[in-house]
């Protein structure tokens, strides 16, 4: 018997239609997902040996690597160690490994970033998704957070439910912030005219 390769269908899909509330700006309770944090790869692998959990040793390795990479790309960078420690606590900052060589070569511009102190993995499996991860850094008040900084946690080890937004990647570049608040002068300018002019119209799609 030969196996057909490559297969023509997805390995996973998003199955749940949760309604407008979960896509609104504020995450609600329904949007929470299983998550677990680890200070390092070894502790994740140790936990993966318990068969009841939703991740494997391979998930640990893949997501730790992804978190390390994302840390390099999205962790906040500061122009001084003092500034970094102000945001992340004394002793929790170091040099920027990505810039060390470049900085040495050019002789200037050394930046500081918080230390990577663990990572969090989250499961979208219940809605047919995969596993996501985020790196963790310290906060000024002694807690732990993702680089985006909008969610903080008491510890870098343990399991629980967190909002799905926790796993949104922090921006690596900053242009004009698209989500800033603004004064709105007028509403309702879309949807009024329609090329179907008589009769009701059930759908904009088709």
């Amino acid at each position: 018997m030969t196996e057909r390769l490559p297969r023509k269908r997805s390995r996973h899909v998003a199955l749940v239609l949760a309604g407008t509330a979960t896509l609104a700006l504020a995450a609600c309770e329904d949007d929470r997902m299983d998550a677990q944090s680890f200070p390092d790869l070894e502790s994740c692998i140790a936990a993966s040996k318990q068969e009841t959990l939703w991740f494997t040793e391979e998930d640990c390795r893949q997501n730790f690597a992804a978190a390390q990479k994302e840390f390099q790309e999205t962790a906040p960078r500061y122009e001084s160690k003092e500034l970094c420690e102000q945001e992340h606590g004394v002793g929790n900052c170091g040099g920027d490994p990505a810039q060390t060589q470049e900085a040495q070569n050019s002789g200037g511009g050394f930046s500081f970033m918080p230390l990577l102190v663990g990572y969090m993995m989250g499961s979208m499996l219940s809605r047919g998704g995969g596993i996501s991860s985020q790196p963790m850094v310290r906060t000024a008040d002694g807690r732990y957070s993702t680089p985006k900084g909008d969610q903080s946690f008491a510890s870098n080890r343990g399991a629980g439910k967190v909002p799905a937004a926790t796993f949104q990647r922090a921006p690596s570049t900053i242009g004009k912030p698209p989500m800033s608040a603004a004064q709105v002068s007028q509403r309702g300018g879309f949807g009024a005219s329609a090329t179907a002019r008589s009769g009701g119209r059930s759908s904009f799609g088709g």
Binding site: K176, Q186, A192, S203
Partner: protein, 407 residues
């Protein structure tokens, strides 16, 4: 290709309800119907559907490239003159497309024929990408389908990959639709979950709640500026709404991009036929104004005279007229041997210019006529969803049928 009667999954209606697929029955009629399913061979899928649909999309891009440079075509496509720049600029910048659905007539023999391309606001995405997938996995697990069966459905993974490709990391995307229309909303939510999986921020706003800031940017229902807007709302309407004047100056990035106004327009069908006459997957097509007299024995417009002569016999045998803007079968009339054989009651689009297209008769499987929806994500065909109806014109209450690949 065959239609095979299969046992329904026990309790699938409860499962649908639990997942939020609440329109599995509509108007007292089943919409999702798994009492039978369509079976294709891998060859049929790959050679007759996937490859041709991907090629057709490439031809469509060539047609867009032609139309944006040709004022005569932009006028024929009824695109308001003040927006020609918006459309041409979005094409010139190479703004990437997200998705579309080609409706194909196919019976397992001979080439699939493009009926039309819903390249702007296709729906039934959740049914195709997710619920159909679940049907397959569960039926295979239950032994109803063979262990080596498959389904042409990498739609979800293709959309996640496409979002990653066309948006910056962490880009905030607003999704606008009519929240009271369950089908429209389900399609939008499916795209939004894929966007979140791709690492983007996805936020819903009711289309009617979009506002304009004092600086001329668009803002959502909570007055936050919209940087990138996915809209499940036709470009032909966007271009005619009160806010149309601000489309370009707002700086908003739109998905689908403005140039899709050309593709979602049924006027693209005569343009494709002019550029690629005789292509095996295309049906002869003309603007009705050019050939109306010729269809009853008179002369066609000079510009299409030669093409019309080639197609005259085919069109006389049977043809379809439809408005250039139309959704869900509205305004479609089928004529065979000189008389009307089918029309939809809804003529709400029929004040628009009409096109004429050679008739590709839909096959009959147990009294139902299936239309294949070939999903395009980015520039490639990546999945299939079928709708079938007792009427030869597919409309918004036609049943969705699952499919599988075997053999």
């Amino acid at each position: 290709m065959e239609k095979r009667t299969l046992p329904e999954r026990p309790g699938w209606r409860d499962k649908a309800e639990e997942l939020g697929f609440t329109f599995a029955d509509m108007g007292g009629e089943p919409y999702w119907d798994e009492t039978s399913a369509y079976r294709f061979t891998l060859r049929e899928i790959e050679e007759d559907i996937e490859a041709p649909a991907t090629e057709l999309h490439a031809l469509c891009r060539e047609a867009v490239d032609r139309a944006v440079r040709d004022e005569a075509w932009l006028a024929r496509l009824d695109i308001p003159r003040q927006h020609w720049d918006l459309i041409a600029a979005s094409w010139a910048r190479g703004e990437p497309e997200l998705y579309g659905r080609m409706d194909l007539a196919y019976d397992g023999n001979g080439p699939a024929k493009l009926l039309e391309y819903n390249a702007d606001t296709p729906t039934s995405l959740y049914e195709s990408a997710s619920f159909q997938w679940l049907w397959f996995e569960q039926q295979q697990a239950a032994g109803v389908l063979d262990a080596d069966a498959d389904q042409f459905n990498s739609i979800h993974e293709a959309i996640v990959a496409r979002w990653t490709q066309i948006c910056a990391d962490g880009e905030e995307v607003h999704f606008a639709a009519d929240p009271d229309n369950l089908e429209d909303y389900a399609t939008v939510e499916t795209l939004a979950w894929a966007a979140r999986e791709a690492g983007l921020g996805a936020h819903f706003t009711a289309l009617s709640q979009i506002g304009l800031t004092e600086e001329g940017q668009f803002a959502d229902d909570q007055s936050r500026i919209i940087g990138t807007l996915f809209k499940l709302y036709p470009w032909e309407d966007m271009l005619r709404d009160e806010f149309a004047a601000h489309l370009q100056s707002s700086g908003t990035r739109f998905i689908e991009p403005p140039w899709k106004a050309i593709l979602s327009n049924k006027g693209i069908l005569p343009l494709l036929w002019q550029m690629f006459p005789g292509h095996p997957n295309l049906l002869p097509a003309f603007f009705l104004a050019d050939v109306q007299e010729a269809l009853t024995g008179g002369n066609p417009a000079a510009a299409v005279a030669q093409a019309f002569e080639t197609a005259r016999e085919t069109l006389a045998h049977g043809h379809v007229t439809k408005p250039i803007f139309s959704r869900e079968g509205a305004g479609v009339v089928i004529r065979e041997q000189g008389r009307d054989v089918a029309r939809t009651g809804d003529d709400s689009y029929s004040h628009h210019p009409m096109i004429v297209q050679g008739l590709a008769r839909l096959p009959d499987f147990g009294g139902f006529h299936p239309v294949l929806g070939a999903w395009i994500v980015g520039e490639n065909c990546c999945g299939l969803g079928l709708r079938e109806d007792r009427s030869p014109i597919t409309h918004n209450l036609s049943r969705f049928k699952p499919h599988f690949i075997e053999g």
